[in-house]
């Protein structure tokens, strides 16, 4: 144990991994101190009225969720007029409700909430709105539009759609193309939406057939296990869409272990390791479809704008919109440099 104790400080300080293991030799070590890519804020940078923003999110037990927190924090730090009250992330609905109520009692000016469960937290969103605190609902949507002033989030259906279109375009000249899908946790609605979008897009390409689909669990371990089985089941296919870059680490490991390189792979979410692999362009991973954690930075911008009574720059309206669905851009070799700073670990 002595050995472990002496090293603990080091371990905790350096949890980050800077380079993708599968890309040994990769040297693109972009600084990621500010993960938000677009430096422009939604309203404007001019200092205004001081705003206190309360932020409540789930436990950061996944790379993407951790990136959400980082984006929110670093964006808030950029503004001298913004004070961020951030709660300890929790996956427990009751606990998160308590945390938001505390923020309401503290009379923060604006709330940004990424609920552990959108439906279950609707009531506390309503409560905040009734107390006169505008709520920016991040990603997982509340049941009622009355519970938020503005919703901003990703587009799961669009992710599948864009992944399907990208693969379709790549394979459009190939007769009888075969495609497989490595989905995320099957009991989440978002997984079903992603699959539906993917299937809908593929309908535009009669030459393509989806021959297999297996669901992993957003973890490296499950990604490796399910991909290994898929590879064994399908000795010949042309493209693979993997819903999540985290489980993609495991999937790529399985592909490497099976010694396969006869297909193209498209990822999902936008992890740094995926971007680096795409840039390197020496493996099967050719593109990934974004589900950008930068939405948290935008949410802070929107919250600040709400607190200061500003609109969104570039729009004719005085008020910021009630809902913003982000575009799930496809990142491939051509535009990966632009997105590199937004990649999460």
């Amino acid at each position: 144990m002595a050995h472990l104790t002496s090293r603990r400080g080091l371990l905790f300080g350096t949890a980050a991994v800077s380079a993708g293991a599968l890309l040994a030799g990769c040297t693109s070590n972009e600084s990621s101190d500010d993960p938000a890519a677009n430096e422009q804020s939604a309203a404007d940078d001019k200092p205004g009225k001081a705003v206190t923003i309360g932020f409540a999110g789930p436990q950061a037990d996944h790379g993407w969720l951790n990136a959400i927190n980082e984006n929110a924090k670093s964006r808030a730090e950029r503004y001298e007029d913004v004070t961020l009250e951030i709660t300890e992330g929790s996956n427990d609905t009751a606990q998160q409700i308590g945390q938001i109520e505390t923020l309401i009692n503290k009379k923060v000016d604006v709330l940004v909430v990424l609920p552990a469960d959108g439906k279950a937290l609707t009531q506390v969103g309503l409560k905040a709105m009734r107390a006169g605190i505008p709520v920016v609902n991040l990603d997982r949507i509340f049941n009622s539009p009355q519970a938020y002033r503005c919703w901003i989030g990703g587009d799961n259906y669009g992710m599948g759609l864009n992944a399907g279109h990208y693969i379709g375009e790549q394979l459009k000249d190939k007769g009888d193309a075969r495609v497989i899908e490595l989905a995320g946790l099957d009991n989440l609605e978002l997984t079903q939406q992603r699959t539906k979008g993917f299937d809908d897009a593929l309908k535009n390409y009669p030459n393509i057939k989806k021959v297999a689909r297996q669901a992993a669990e957003f973890t490296v371990e499950s990604g490796q296990a399910k991909m290994a089985q898929l590879l064994q089941a399908q000795s010949d296919f042309d493209a693979l869409w993997n819903h999540d870059d985290d489980q993609g680490v495991g999937a790529l490991r399985a592909i490497e272990q099976a010694g396969r390189d006869d297909f193209l792979m498209v990822g999902g979410a936008g992890a740094l390791s995926a971007f680096q692999a795409i840039k390197q362009d020496d493996g099967v991973l050719k593109a990934t479809v974004l589900y950008p954690p930068t939405m948290a930075a935008s949410a802070i911008d929107l919250a600040r704008a709400l607190g200061q009574g500003k609109g969104v720059g570039g729009l004719a309206e005085f008020e910021i919109p009630a809902s913003l669905t982000l575009y799930s851009a496809v990142v491939d070799k051509d535009n990966v440099d632009q997105y590199m700073p937004t990649g999460f670990k």
Partner: protein, 339 residues
Amino acid sequence: MTQPVSPPRGGPDKVTPVSEPPAWRALVFRADVRTLSLLGVLAALIVIGGITKPDEFLDTRNLQLVLTQASVIGVVTVGMTFVITSGGIDLSVGAIVALASVWATTVATQEYGFGGILFTAVIVGVGCGLVNGLLIAYGGMVPFIATLAMLASARGLALQITDGSTQVVTVEGILDLGERDAYVLGIPPLVLVFAVVTIIGWLLLNRTTFGRRTVAVGGNAEAARLAGIDVRRQRLYLYLLSGLCCGIAAFLLIVLSGSGQNTNGNLYELDAIAAAIIGGTLLSGGRGTITGSVLGVLIFTTITNIFALNNLQSDVQQIAKGAIIVAAVLVQRRTASTT
């Protein structure tokens, strides 16, 4: 004062050779029937796999795949079998695997290379097992509660270390071990480790004083104590052993997935307990079988494999898995009771 009885003191029985009596065979035969029924289930699965997907299922690569996938949970199950045989339970195995796998794959640990990763994974596993063992054996805590607490703490610590991110391994030696080039006579190194752990586990349980004490403690802890066995020390060793197995499994998982993640080992506790119980180990303690546990693991892994090869979705998989657990246990009970 009586002398310790050593070979029969003369008398008419002196030259009687030790021939194993029929009842002895009956006992072994019964154990065999239990194992045979598991083999029967496995054979049935193989037939199903062979019929539905002859090309993909009946294939050397698939055999390698199934055995590799079974290795990680298999090593955990061997440790779990000992704990359950002693009348205990270890709910923290999955969390220990997660903690060991992330601790062993931090940037700092990776600087120490292959040895550093292996050493850290094993030491973290043993360390967690030590804490479990001390709490249960000397702290008087119920195994269920002590290991539940360890589950929560180890998962929390794993999350703290990673911040939820995936720690990718860059140490070549580790990565190479999971590649096809590293296979020894067609056997993946992970499977070799699994085999070695299984054999050592079997010998330990069936041929050593350690195994006897484990069974005695599980069968009747009070009788074991009054027979002069140090029950508390035995319990400590058992949780240490389970922790050690978790450490080894964590290392295998690092090799297999090329990374460490705080979500690793998800629900391993349930898979390991289920495999052990299906295998014939008594949940109440006093009887344990490594062979059965390993067959249990193989049955589970084969089911998953057949499902994936047939492209069945998660919902169907879960329903069928539950049904097969029930069927396997029923078949076993029937065959055991009709002997």
